[in-house]
């Protein structure tokens, strides 16, 4: 799948889901089970994305490097209630600093 196909297909599907919520009768989507799955889905997906982005190389191997340290710092920043952009910039700075110093 080309990158353009990925971008456009994902965009169309995302809009279709949003629109569906606005047009289907409420009773089709109301309900405790639906609510539970829809709130659990982003938790599972985002946690898996964190793990893959932090611990795997582009070939799929597992590794502890500058990214693990950077994500650790990001978690401390989140515990201290830092805003999103601060967390992200801090993690980049830690990883860049460690690499500049020849570590990770």
């Amino acid at each position: 799948m080309s990158t353009w196909t990925t971008v456009l297909l994902a965009g169309v599907l995302a809009y279709a889901l949003k629109l569906l919520g606005h047009v289907v009768p409420a009773r089709w989507l109301d309900g405790e089970r639906t609510a539970r799955v829809t709130s659990a889905l982003p938790i599972a997906l985002l946690a898996a994305l964190v793990a893959v982005q932090t611990f795997t190389t582009s070939s799929g191997g597992l590794v502890l490097d500058a990214r693990s340290v950077a994500v650790g710092v990001a978690i401390v920043a989140l515990l201290l209630r830092a805003p999103f952009i601060v967390v992200v910039v801090l993690a980049a700075a830690v990883a860049a600093g460690l690499r500049a110093a020849g570590m990770g």
Binding site: K18, L19, A26, A44, A51, A96
Partner: protein, 252 residues
Amino acid sequence: MTAALSRERRGQVLRQAASVSVATGAYGISFGALSVAAGLSVWQTCVLSLLLFSGGSQFAIVGILAGGPSGGAAAVATSTLLGVRNMLYGLQVSRMLDVGGLRRLAAAHLTIDESTAVGVAQPETRAARLGFWATGVGIYLLWNLMTFVGALVGDALGDPRVWGLDAAAAAAFCALLWPRLKSVDAFAIAALAALVAVLLAPHAPAGVPVLAAAFAALLAGWWHRAHHDPAAPHHWTDEDLATRGAEPGATP
């Protein structure tokens, strides 16, 4: 049934919408930079923000494509599954706004975490509508502007690893996940999904470990609930925020 808003309340709602828009728009710059670092062009990056317009899904797509263009199908699947929650928000927003035609099409596009949260947090219908539209439009403008700026910055930076942009992507997912980790169950789901993804990563193509991990965590959650704890009420805080005030009887 909907009295006009006082000037003071109007100001309050608009200030809240503005602060959420600025905070969310600001990290559009990190999305733009990460997207270009992952190999997307400046145009592809901007089209994602214009057309997809849902932060978590956009970060997921560029995160998976960073592992190679072969991850396209998995990127679309992950993005779409992350977008399912917007459908539930749509239910609440459509009840709150009660609009049709082009306005409904526009409202659907602006239905994301932040606009829904600001809208349903208002006790009065007028304020809820104002909050939704002001936050949705504010974020849309700033998010797209900042995506473009970030894409240009990312384009100028060169090797993303030197600048730690790969670690920034991981931190961005952490920050998106953080507000959802408000119960023991949420932690358990997150831990299981992370573990499965890491174990599968050496053996599966890019993007597949994330999807498999999510399904494993959902199945485990379902099984656990069915066998141990069938009657317990569930409290997802972000869902609570999205549910409160959207009941037909809850607005004055």
